[in-house]
Amino acid sequence: MHRFLRRVMPRPALLVLLGALATAHGPSAMSTAPSAQVTRAQSALVAMRSGLHLGDADGFRTRTSLVNGQGVTVVRFDQEHAGYRVWGGEAIVHARPDGEVKTLTRSVLPEVRVGGEPRLTAEQALRIAIRDLQPKGPFAMQPRVERIVFPARFTGGLARTWDPVQQRFRVDRGMSILARPPAAPYVWAYEVRTVLHNRADGHRETSFVIDGNTGSVLRKSNDLRTAAAIGTGHGFYNQNVQLGTTRNADRTYSLVDTTRGTLPNPWLSGTGPFDPPAAGYTGPTNGLMTFYQDFQSLTLGFSLYAGNTVDTWGDGQPYAGSFVGDWHDYVLSYAEGTPNGQSPAVDAQYGVSATWDFYKNVFGRNGVDGLGTSTFTMSHMTDFLTGGPLANAWWSDNMFGMFYGDGDYPYNPNGFQEVASIDVTGHEMTHGVTGSTAQLVYDGESGGLNEASSDIMGEMVEAYGKRPAGSNAAVPEGNDFLIGVQPGRGTPLRWMTKPSKDGLSEDQWYDGLALHEVHFSSGPMNRCFYFLSHGASSDKADDAYSPYLPEGMTGIGNDKAARIYYKALTEYFTATTDYPAAREALLQAAEDLFPGSQTESDAVKRAFAAINVGEAPGQAPRPLVRMPPVHGDGTYLGYVNDHFFGFNNFARSPVLPIGVPVKLKATVENSTNTEVEWLTHGRTPLQTCGGTVEPDGTFVTPTKDYALSGDDCWVTVVSKADPLQFAVGTLFVINLDADDDLEEDAMDLGASALSWGLPRALSPSHSMTFNYAVDNTDPAFAVEAIRNAFPVDAAVAP
């Protein structure tokens, strides 16, 4: 999709002084004085420790505390052990004014044991992370290193990349984690968070978990959340709108809305966990600020829209672009600051302002974090890989701001124009709300729910933007439930009513949905929300028809649906919430908001039943098909990484050699008929797998080397009792035959070892992963394949 564009840019030297960079964070005190309610909530959790299989060394650290619209204090706690945060462990406590306390401890990790002290220092861990990151330019902020307790089972491995051109996943060696999980269930580790924002690296935010004893990289993830993809303002999408601006002492105006955001932006002001602030930045830090990417700054400096003498912004026309020329040969236009260049910025600021007002007026939420912390938008971002136009946008938790591209149309005739439509800005800012509350892990089902939360609230912001005058406290009915239809020039990014219309998203939950990329596994939740608000049809020809709820259902309207979802997201979702847990959370939220009423909770049950999660009132449990991993758990947990920024998906994808017999397993619950049919393909025509699976699950892996294509081998198993019930799994099949003797065995390790570390393999066969050189990827994959294919337990003994 993106071709490399010619541009000559100087490469800045790596201005990093490691010793000065490491900021080790030990046990932290609460950042705010604990109120009586927070203290009561904490005491309730501490009293539950033995029941949670925790001991005296275990505790809970307040992350956030807010009072909701019902007067209930909602406190989110990070789990800690010996004063250090336990990665992935959390609890939520609802403390009511009448003294009642409810706890949500689903995500508390039990039996935490870790002894001694880490062998590595925080600085050593940082060095390891930087060695892996290989930055080409300076960091945008001081990397943060925090000593933590890490659960070994979250060690990540095989990374896959979503190829938008081929519409398939490919293995991404750069993001793959090659370490085996530590033997102990919990280990000392360091979490290292980095932010690069410079011409050589572009914008990258990467987190690492480094084993505190071995130095192994245990987990690596991208921290950006994307859309995959506004005085008086004349935006392209928003032609005549009012914008909050600032009149300066010199009688000029700037795009700084001081009515939205009272606390300083943590990055711009340097008051956040990262230090120092934006390099050389001396501008405002409070309010909603709108910048553009300064192409003349080596560090992609922030240029504030300012110096306007008439306080009118934009020309209402499509932005002509930051580039002049064609796809192959162009020069920079430096038009970002012109009236035409202001138009996308007007759209962005208007959308973010509308989102801010939506959260404040409908839910009583003061900004992204509920505390009024200031945020910003950055317009005119470019594609870091190509240096060309960018058809995307993202939210940065670290910088507490949003970034928007100008779109890649017309350079790409099938591409997107300016991305800052109101639903997209609502989407991005909601990533910030999620980051301040549920912190849904951007992998698997929770990643899909993270994306769905942004899609849902983005659509509600769009609906809110069309509200009649004077009705600021409710979400009006209607809207298109199409995500990004304006950037797509009439073709949306996603259809919430029937997500599968894009050819990739899913309409329903199934075992294996977690394998899907998060912008596509969001489909069922998007559809569920549409059903909840607008209802489901009983007409098979209708996009709103679901075979899982053929009788259809009546919706409860946008306002109620939005309130239920917001409450669930901010008060009941945790980092690892999956679809079944999301159903429970929405049910609890409906009961909280509408006590004594069945209408809303029944609607929640029906909406989830319509996406194959749980049963509607009166429905019998459906057969449930599951596909356990092939041969053990597979040491390598696959995670998915988008070609731009990285979407993680810790789903199991065992590595296996070609041509070996394996036993695929499936279980069928809730039915006496446990017969299944095996299919050697996944959910799209491109997800295929050679060979035939016998009815008993016996399967000889294909002789096709999937490493060559960087693809996966997909398998689907369908219930014969109910063909609507199925599960999906993947295998990564690799030819081990490094010694070219047509046998897959352990001696192939030796042949591969002959070329390890060489810039060019002595024989192409020496790299089973088809690298030009042979590096640690090869032993990692090969050893894993041997372990998975030839387990000792399968040894024959009469």
Binding site: G215, M747, L749, V783
Partner: protein, 211 residues
């Protein structure tokens, strides 16, 4: 003396019979002759009557790693050892890459070329290979790896087949040209490249019997 041994054996069988557990199959293994050229599978002193532990010992020449496929009688089963694999690393080979000019592994958790499994046909496949050319080759006169076997209950007395189907090693003289760990700029001389092949080796196996 012979009479006393016979009496002990009879007593043992009688005890086994009285316990109702049937015959306890016991493995005996006779090492290949000590001066057999090449590599040998020899009995490890930690073996028990029901579990045979075999060490792979080389001819004393230096090497950078070895692997083999060993087919066992269907009545035998291989035993999981290191990390659930049917092979034990005795520590002779340095499997990790080292920091330049040191004997300190750069990363204790990095992937290594060491694996084992049991393929169809009860064929054990094991391999243990150094990867860092900057690390010296190791003498093979000490056990470089171990494996272990057990016999299924009720096995009939008699010889049990144990045969090496394939065995290969990395010779000594392919290294020393890359100075410490992964080096993407390394260039190998042609004479070193010419030697960079797995060499077939012979592994002598002793006689295995169930009693």
């Amino acid at each position: 003396m012979h009479t006393r041994l016979l009496a002990l054996a009879v007593t043992a069988l009688a005890v086994a019979g009285c316990s109702g557990g049937g015959n306890v199959a016991q493995l005996s293994y006779t090492d290949p002759p000590p001066y057999t050229p090449g590599w040998r599978l020899v009995k490890n002193a930690s073996s028990t009557p029901t579990r045979l532990v075999l060490d792979l010992v080389g001819p004393g020449d230096k090497s950078r790693g070895v692997g083999f496929n060993l087919q066992a009688d269907p009545r035998l089963r291989f035993v999981p050892l290191d990390d659930g694999m049917p092979v034990h690393d005795t520590g002779v080979f340095e499997l990790r890459s080292l920091l330049p000019d040191t004997d300190v592994p750069a990363d204790l958790g990095e992937p290594v070329y060491f694996a084992g499994g049991v393929m169809p046909g009860n064929v054990l496949t094991v391999g243990i290979f150094q990867k860092d050319r900057g690390v010296s080759a190791k003498s093979t006169n000490l056990p470089v790896l171990s494996i272990a076997l057990e016999v299924a209950p009720g096995g009939q007395p008699g010889p049990l087949a144990l045969s090496v189907l394939k065995a290969r090693a990395i010779p000594e003289d392919i290294g020393g040209t890359v100075n410490g760990g992964y080096d993407p700029q390394a260039v190998l001389p042609p004479q070193v490249i010419a030697k960079s092949h797995l060499q077939p080796i012979h592994i002598a196996v002793g006689n295995l019997q169930v009693n």
